[in-house]
Amino acid sequence: MILTFLVQPVLAEEWEDQQFFGSATSQKTLRILSNTDTRFFAPIIESFLKSQPSVSVKYLVTGSAELYDIFRTSPEDFDVVISSAMDLQFKLVNDGYALALGDLEHPDWAQWRESLFAFSTEPATIVINREAFEGVPTPSSRQDLIKALRQRPETFQGRVGTYDVRHSGLGYFFATQDARASETYWRLTEVFGSLGVRLYCCSGDMIDDLVSGKIAVAYNVLGSYALGREDAQSQIKVILPSNFPTKMMRSAFVSTNTRLPDVAGTFIKHLTGIQADISKAATFPLPPLDRTVEPAISLDPALMTYLDRLKRRTFIQEWESAIIQ
């Protein structure tokens, strides 16, 4: 028992998913550490391998917070790091874990130090189970949602879901950005708390429970994931909050410890080349980088604010006191 406990965390990482692309006999294997579901990345990796036949790709998926810890513990084990948690990605780059790619054309606001490249714009959305809102108007903003939840507490008791910000990097990022933008977030959180909110690690699980009807409302779900579940669109509805939508940019960088800097650089170039071009990106499942407006949450040092130990402690304390009642 003790042995297992000692050995297990070191040897076997609990990957959410683990996929190998390309020929097993190829000389070069690009190791991508990502928090993005494989189905979103598989087409991009496959198109990349078409132009790089001698390369294979190992795609490892884990949660955004774990990804951060795993990468910091063994940065030499990965060539490319992809995550939706902008703050954590930013911190890794700020701390010197990313290789600068000098020859990459990318909008200035979508990159940092020529190292971190944002390649998608994805909003946090409210997703509802259509059944639960039958006969009543669907909420279009956070205030609407608060009102709807308060009007029918019996319907929503125990049927509201959101990220557990203590364990999800992306959930924490969305929550802190929400809180920064408006006090409404705290009111909403208190309402969630009063309704016995269910806490999730990932968008995927929340969507599963929405589809099954286990929960009626999920807050801060990745719109791209919800819309990506084409089979479930009759059960669920994705709502983009009309006031201050929180939009995240998924980002990637090449590890300074990579053994394949050229291949990794080419991969980032391939990825950004697709995602920064709306017509190209349309043929891939991942939402493109929205180049029409500069993002409200930009790639700048302020992203590290809520990663501060004291700030995080304070935020979590407040969140817990609001949500756990």
Binding site: N94, D95, G96, W112, R113, E114, R180, S298, L299, D300, P301, A302, L303, M304, T305, D308, R309, L310, K311, T314
Partner: protein
Amino acid sequence: MIEGVKISGSLRNRLTVSLIGGAAVLALLMYFIVRAYATQIAQQGQDNILGASVNSILDAANVSEGFIDVDFPYASFSMLGTDTDDRVFYAIYQDDELLSGYDGLAQIFPEVDKGSAYGNTTFKGAPVRLASASRMLVGADLRVQLTVTVAQTQDSLLGALNRIGRNVAIFGAGFFLLVVILAFWATSTAIGPLAQLTTSVARRGPQDLSPVASPVPREMAPLVFSLNKLMARLEYSLSRSEDFIAEAAHRVRTPLATVRSHAEATLLRVDKEENRQAMRSMIRAIDESSRAAGQLLDHAMITFRADNLDQKNIDLVELVQDLAMRLSPIAEMRDIELQLDALGPVSVIGDAILLQNAIRNLVDNALKYAPSESIVRLVVATTPKPSISVVDEGAGFPVGEINLLPDRFARGSNSGGIIGSGLGLTIAQEVAEAHGGGLTLNNHSRGGACVTFSF
């Protein structure tokens, strides 16, 4: 023009080089000073932002329920965003213990509540600028010193400095180029009067020893003063020697006249043919000496008068007529007809005495070299320039010597047996030059010499 002058360096080069050298030094100095100044200002800018960031974090600190809480605003870090995406590090210390932020970030512990302290260090392999400030926090049963340090890499600063440096370098180079152009201009301007003086001295006639009259810059005054003095001395010694010659000629001529009259008297008294022959030779020699002395006198007079021309309006035709009349006895003795060709009065400005002397010498020559029963024509013309030509029907000038004849004491190879000093043409030429004209010698196509005295 400057053969035989020893050259050591060049004023122009020395001036240009020192001006350009000075400009180069100034340009470099400007570059370094402005760069240093820009560095200071840019660093000041970065320090201000770092200081503001540190203070915004410190201000957010409070003690609640025995805990230190530092709920600093989003702006604390967002204000640190730069064009070049500089990395940001920070650390929050409670007394000596790291509360939050990056471990190992060099700490400066400034005095409490005494503003921010700044410094440079290296963190995570990058040179960073850091700002630190401290604050005393007092709670119910707690009294701690909170120190906040914020550090930032200096890519943006270096980028700005490089840009400024490049611009300053361009300005410096422009300034330098401008000064180089100015240096060349200033040098030419400064050297200009020297070149003017050179030209004015070089252009002078051989006789002109007058002092330099045009104004010169103060610095050149001693040189010009010395030059003037030198020329005055030269003129003095020249006139002394002319005076001496004139005096000598005069002194010789009078006794010669006495000797000649004695010789003539003696000639009448001797009967022996060989003695008479000897006497004639003697008289002839005396004549030659006397004539030479006369011409030396004339020449000395001309040299003197040429420098101080007695300018008057003169009718050349009248002058030549007058002369022809006076010389007609000699012409008649030799059966030569003097013929004046003139259409009307030709008036010129000149010194009558000198002109008379010069023309008489020319006519004298013609009378000496022309054969008997021939015509010597005196042609006064107005075009292209006023001139007097003396044309004879003699043998003409010896070809090949024609250019040498006006030299002092030069005589043609065909002059054997004819009395002459070799000064006649010299005198005529000097008079012509004193009047701004010249003397042209050539042989007539039908034989005979033609001397043209032109103004």
